[in-house]
Symmetry: C2
Amino acid sequence: MPKSREIHLVSRPIGAPAVENFALVEREVGDAADGEVLVQNLLMSVDPAMRPRLTAGQALDEAMMGGALGRVVQSKTEAFAVGDLVSNRLGFREYFTSEGKGLTKLTPDPDLPLTVHMHALGGTGFTAYGGLLHIGQLKDGEQVFVSTAAGAVGSVAAQIAKIKGCYVVGSTGDDGKAAWLRDEVGLDAVINYKTQPIKKALEEATPKGLDVYFDNVGGEHLEAALRRMNTLGRIPVCGFISGYNSGHSNVGNLSNIIYSRVMLRGFVAPDFMHLYADFQRDMAGWLKAGKVKYQETIREGIAAAPQALIGLMAGQNAGKMLVRLAS
Amino acid sequence: MPKSREIHLVSRPIGAPAVENFALVEREVGDAADGEVLVQNLLMSVDPAMRPRLTAGQALDEAMMGGALGRVVQSKTEAFAVGDLVSNRLGFREYFTSEGKGLTKLTPDPDLPLTVHMHALGGTGFTAYGGLLHIGQLKDGEQVFVSTAAGAVGSVAAQIAKIKGCYVVGSTGDDGKAAWLRDEVGLDAVINYKTQPIKKALEEATPKGLDVYFDNVGGEHLEAALRRMNTLGRIPVCGFISGYNSGHSNVGNLSNIIYSRVMLRGFVAPDFMHLYADFQRDMAGWLKAGKVKYQETIREGIAAAPQALIGLMAGQNAGKMLVRLAS
């Protein structure tokens, strides 16, 4: 009967989350009962979208929810065998028992590192793929802007646009990330929004305007993009990180969507699950061909999970932020 | 050789437009030359969308542009005969000559008043029809909110939604208009946004949330609707009248479009011209059956045009605002 350590939310952050909003709690996890499996999590995901759930959605004094990849260590069901890898939504804990609901067996690609199944070849990559191609209806050769382009979702979106022959501008808040986007990823223009005024910089970087803005940020980034949208442009809205800590994110020039007949559409990956097989085939090929590059920031051990989330919100990650819970 | 009086924009309004921004100018119009027609305008349209053009787009010291319906009074081309009625974009003037470009022959429906071709059966009605059914993808029986629901576009949008079996809430800024919407048009709920707090009133009026918000207003109306949108809801954005005088219109809760996966899309009628024949057939039938009711506010004479536009922006119209230039 293993002991599992897990992260509870114990108070709701006002503004940026802080370590005192979280607690590390140890509890006994029962062995697998009939029909159940016992899963040990190996890796867990830390995502910007977790921030709004700290304000509303995530219960207090319970283990937090989040994407994770685990290994079956006991099985009393024919559906799973010991050793099976299972994607699950029960991150922020080391062990859990389950009747199998919400577990998806993962067959890792032998030619790729296991961790890419947690980002480029997993949920964040799929969010970028469907957001850009399905929600954003990207066409080859268009003018594209991606905010937080060095992030887990943004970096994949920006590179898919490059693969599709587009002119791609990315923003980031860090000179090191900007250099990676320019020199490794090969974006056409990169804006450091912490050192350059975003509206002026975006205007200069987009002489042919914008057909698609992949928005992870909202706020000033969205205002800057709205000024540059071409007729019948599209803005898939993946995140509003600029407003996550404050709870609001003002946009003052939304009326521009009328004159240019622009579509904004919020989305989550389950909106385009019918594309998942296409995504896996395309993305595995791009990763193996080196056409999609990625960065990872991996923290070690469950106790590091709160700081990983706090650090993510402060931009301390390069690429996907993960926590390794076991190996 | 007739004299034509026309309205010039002589200075750009700061905030609400005022009479001193306009001038009535008389000039000679030549007779029709070979290949030309001379048109006398009978009716001209006054629309909220004209306001942004006063800030940028409409040249100073020239006759203003706007929808109009005229009659051919001289013709030196086989394309038009004297007496033909022609829709045109050359409102704000009594006469003009033309080679025919931009003129569309109108065959009025003998069972309907000529003026309905200027609103419910014309551009404003078509804007409502395509905005709701094509851009908004309205489905039978959905939950719908229409802002400025007593206006020329809003009143048609609200009634099409009723014809489609929807639950329809409308907003207006006047008790008389509210009574018309409730008692004559038969909306399910009506909000006077000048006497009721829009967010609370909309919440109370939409127990099943909103699937479609037909937005003519932006600003606080849009914020109120964003709080009520159901999953995969749609917001066709037809106008942002709340920001037309000030030039901006803040929206603070746009991030809601992510959680509910909402689409906002700005549009103009030319985006769905392929629906025009369907629209004319449907709308003529609805008008004759009394299923679409309308109001008109008709000012007399070209000199009244500036005050008609000023009054429209102040809500002094009931339904479509027109100016009759001749009969």
